[in-house]
Subunit: 227 residues, 2 copies
């Protein structure tokens, strides 16, 4: 019989060396997250209004999205990647936020290969590129849509694999990474990650349409009919 | 002490219910694969020469790549996804090919969640879309580059995760999915999959350049300077 350190994650038999329980309450952790989101989006909106007042409402929202998304990738997910070996012991603000979230997905506590690889690329490739795209939107850059397509595809595909690997593990191998309470699975795992399905899907659709329209209007078709 | 069924995969302690040893030799399996590749590429080249003799050399090669890639995704990888629950017992040609390859990556024998999810999307999304792109290349479609970007990104990112998850599992969790002989790791795992790193990377670069150039030349920038 092995004695495991008591922790709130699932499955309960995972061994988390050096685990230290959170000291901040859930409302405080969620409150700080919500407040930080509001500040980032509010500040970005204000800056956008100043530097490019002519930006369409949609582009303004997308520029905010890419700044917000860049912060989540680079700061939150970057923190995880940087600390992935010692996550269970972290007691600073971001560490406690991750330990609260990990009740819905313990893979963040165990150096699980897929989550670690996907998060590394998300934090250090998609993260900085998100900031770049929001600048490209403001500057009306010719590189905006091709770059938006790459990054949104990366976010979308990464998130689809993030969801499905967890579901396959549960269905085929009877291992759930999430606590059984509805709140964690639906509130954290499904709801929070759904933004990185729907918004990137919209961005892919937008860039695809704009680029296809551009080719339809301007492409030179030497001796060929276009579709 | 548990008695495992003897099999050639790594790590040796994975339990493969219903495992049946291959009956065809390695040269036969590799020979059939090489021959099928030659037939697909040769046949596609001949058809391309007939239906669009004006196609550039590069586009001809890419159209062949997408047909070949589509066949690998839809037929080989589709076979795996369709049979993922009973792979260790399969003795038909594709089953024996997969069991030979799995000496370099046993995840194909164990319903490992990441490989199963990534392969499902590869087989049934990127597979058919590869055929579509090769038609778009021939028809000089305005949808060619946006579609090529999506599919090549999917292939590239999927393959990066495929490599890195296996390496992380070995480095952090001391579990190797590959037999220790150099031939399997370098010959099958690294070499065969490298095509889906380098060629998609080139396709992304190509589509990115073409689309950015199109925007530089033709985009309307209302009251804004482009970058």
């Amino acid at each position: 019989m092995v004695n495991y350190i008591a922790h709130p994650f699932y499955p309960p038999d995972i061994d988390l060396l050096g685990y230290a329980a959170n000291t901040m309450s859930i409302p405080v952790l969620l409150g700080v997250f919500a407040l930080a989101t509001l500040i980032i989006v509010g500040f970005t909106s204000a800056v956008l209004k100043k530097i490019n007042p002519g930006l369409s409402r949609q582009d303004k929202m997308l520029a905010c999205w890419f700044i917000f998304s860049g912060c989540i990738h680079f700061i939150m997910e970057g923190y995880f990647v940087y600390n992935h070996k010692i996550m269970p012991s972290r007691l600073d603000l971001l560490g406690q936020m991750w330990k609260e979230y990990a009740k819905a997905d313990s893979r963040y506590m165990t150096m699980e290969p897929f989550v670690l690889c996907m998060e590394s690329i998300t934090a250090f490739a998609w993260g900085p590129l998100c900031y770049l795209i929001s600048w490209m939107i403001v500057a009306n850059s010719p590189y905006r849509h091709p770059t938006q397509m790459i990054v949104s595809m990366g976010q979308f595909y990464g998130d689809v694999l993030y969801y499905t690997t967890s579901i396959v593990e549960e269905v085929y191998h009877a291992r759930s990474y999430s606590r059984p309470e509805t709140y964690y699975w639906w509130g954290y795992f499904v709801f929070l990650n759904a933004f990185w399905i729907f918004i990137p899907a919209f961005c892919i659709y937008q860039s695809y349409s704009v680029m296809a329209a551009m080719f339809r209007q301007h492409a030179v078709h030497p001796g060929k009919k276009s579709l």
